[in-house]
């Protein structure tokens, strides 16, 4: 990735910070198929941005590029002006990936990688597990927990890292309504603590509940970006009108 001229990095709370995230002319092509086509997007501090769109519109790919997991085929992404992905980000995937060790040890593993050890790590693990309601299964193997518990544990792992930005890729797509509610509540609390949220979903009701801001993707392009309330009331793009119409049927 080439370094783009941008705003000079600023320091927030003593850490360098990775916001704003600026994507310029981002395209992603895999196996001859264009998944994203010249996407321009800026994620600023504090908001809850929901990337909405039908299956195959490129939501997950865009999220991974914004997180820096994959590089764009064309264009660039910068994090507070830097072209290297900052450490202060976490991501929760549709299917939680947990290690074959206890719930507690899963959190400790992530903290150790982030250079957080000792008492500070103990405190963060304890608090995060209580926050997601998993304190009583702290010693159980993470892999034998239920689907909902596993996703909550993945959220606790992200939470313990106290990230500046939390990315969530369809975090409730394979969960039942009760587990979905629990996940949404946790996301809301993480946001309330000052973490910027970027998530994908194809669940309109969820987008309504959680979003401040909607990025509507269609066929690999941003068809519309809008304040959530306005998007649902009076969408501007034809694609969004059709999509919302279709979902209502």
């Amino acid at each position: 990735m080439r370094r783009e001229p941008g705003p000079t990095p600023i320091s927030v709370n003593g850490r360098s910070g990775g916001l704003p995230i600026v994507a310029r002319g981002v395209s992603f092509v895999r196996g001859g198929t264009t998944i994203l086509a010249s996407v321009d997007l800026t994620i600023t501090r504090g908001g809850r941005t929901v990337i909405l769109g039908p299956n195959g519109s490129g939501k997950s790919t865009l999220l991974r590029i914004l997180h820096g997991l994959i590089g764009p085929t064309e264009g660039s992404v910068t994090w507070n002006g830097a072209s290297r992905r900052p450490a202060e980000q976490a991501m929760v995937f549709q299917r939680p990936v947990l290690l074959r060790r206890s719930a507690e040890a899963n959190l400790r593993y992530a903290l150790t990688l982030a250079g957080i050890n000792g008492g500070d790590a103990d405190r963060r693990i304890f608090e995060a597990l209580i926050d997601v309601g998993l304190a009583e299964v702290a010693r159980r193997s993470a892999r034998v927990l239920s689907g909902g518990e596993q996703q909550r544990l993945a959220l606790a792992r992200a939470w313990a890292l106290d990230p500046e930005v939390l990315f969530l890729d369809e975090p409730t797509a394979s969960l039942d309504p009760a587990a979905t509610r629990a996940v949404e509540q946790i996301v809301a609390r993480i946001h309330a603590r000052g973490t910027t949220i970027v998530m994908t979903t194809h669940n309109l009701a969820q987008a309504k509940r959680l979003a401040d801001d909607i990025v509507f993707l269609y066929g690999g392009r941003i068809a519309e970006r809008q304040a959530a309330e306005r998007f649902f009331r009076s969408p501007q793009s034809t694609e969004a009108v059709v999509y919302l119409e279709g979902e209502r049927l």
Partner: protein, 234 residues
């Protein structure tokens, strides 16, 4: 000449009585193959994990080679180690040809590719599942490889048992580098080969029974490990 049933009866009596000669041979076999498996694990598992996780030019060739080397003919490995360790060879100075150490080296070489190739497959499958999450958490390539080795430990236990099974059942390599010296380098397989050709069937059969029992035990253990880990660790 004894009938087969006489030989079998005599063989079972040798086992039941813990015949000293038979026990010594079984102990040497177990010792050599256990040490060889341990050494091979120290080399093969990290190697397999590294190849699974790292991306480098020629990776496909390395994987194909590891897979091909799984079928290394033991006698050829024996010959190679013999040349290395023989007085005129580059490692001849150690003077360990025709000792259990030479047998350990031969078996180690024989099973390193097996452990590396099988663990590569297991770790790579896990890697495709974990890659994004570990990358997101900031794990470097080497940290990821170690994490995956530990996370697939129950599957890898099966791999170790497969390696050990191959080592202990192998005859050609240890025959060449050990020399099949009575009381020194005679293991189960080489004894069976020798005693059969001499016509001493009871000892050969007795060792054969022990060998088969061991191999079956190992496979049951492998199966039980997997089943247990699946219920306890998912």
């Amino acid at each position: 000449m004894q009938t087969i049933s006489d030989s079998v009866a005599l063989a079972l009596r040798l086992i039941a009585a813990f015949d000293a000669k038979l026990v010594d041979i079984v102990e040497l076999s177990l010792g050599v193959s256990l040490i060889a498996t341990t050494l091979a694990a120290c080399i093969g598992l990290p190697l397999g994990a590294a190849v699974a996780v790292a991306r480098f030019p020629g990776r496909g060739v390395v994987i194909a080679s590891l897979n091909a080397l799984m079928g290394l003919p033991p006698v050829v490995v024996g010959l190679f180690v013999y040349l290395m360790l023989s007085r005129a060879g580059p490692l001849g100075g150690f003077g360990i040809l025709f000792t259990p150490k030479a047998m350990v080296i031969a078996q180690t070489i024989l099973i390193v590719p097996i452990l590396a190739a099988l663990s590569r497959q297991i770790v790579e499958d896990a890697w495709s599942e974990y890659r994004e999450q570990l990358t997101s958490l900031g794990a470097k390539t080497l940290e990821s490889a170690m994490t995956l080795l530990w996370d697939t430990r129950y599957s890898l236990a099966t791999v170790l048992l497969a390696g050990f099974g191959r080592a202990i059942a192998e005859v050609g390599a240890v025959m060449i580098v050990g020399g099949n010296i009575d009381g020194v380098t005679r293991v189960m397989t080489t004894t069976i080969a020798l005693e059969t050709s001499k016509g001493d069937l009871p000892l050969a059969l007795g060792l054969g029974f022990v060998l088969i029992a061991l191999v079956m035990l190992l496979n049951f253990a492998a199966h039980a490990t997997r089943a247990w880990s699946h219920t306890h660790f998912g």
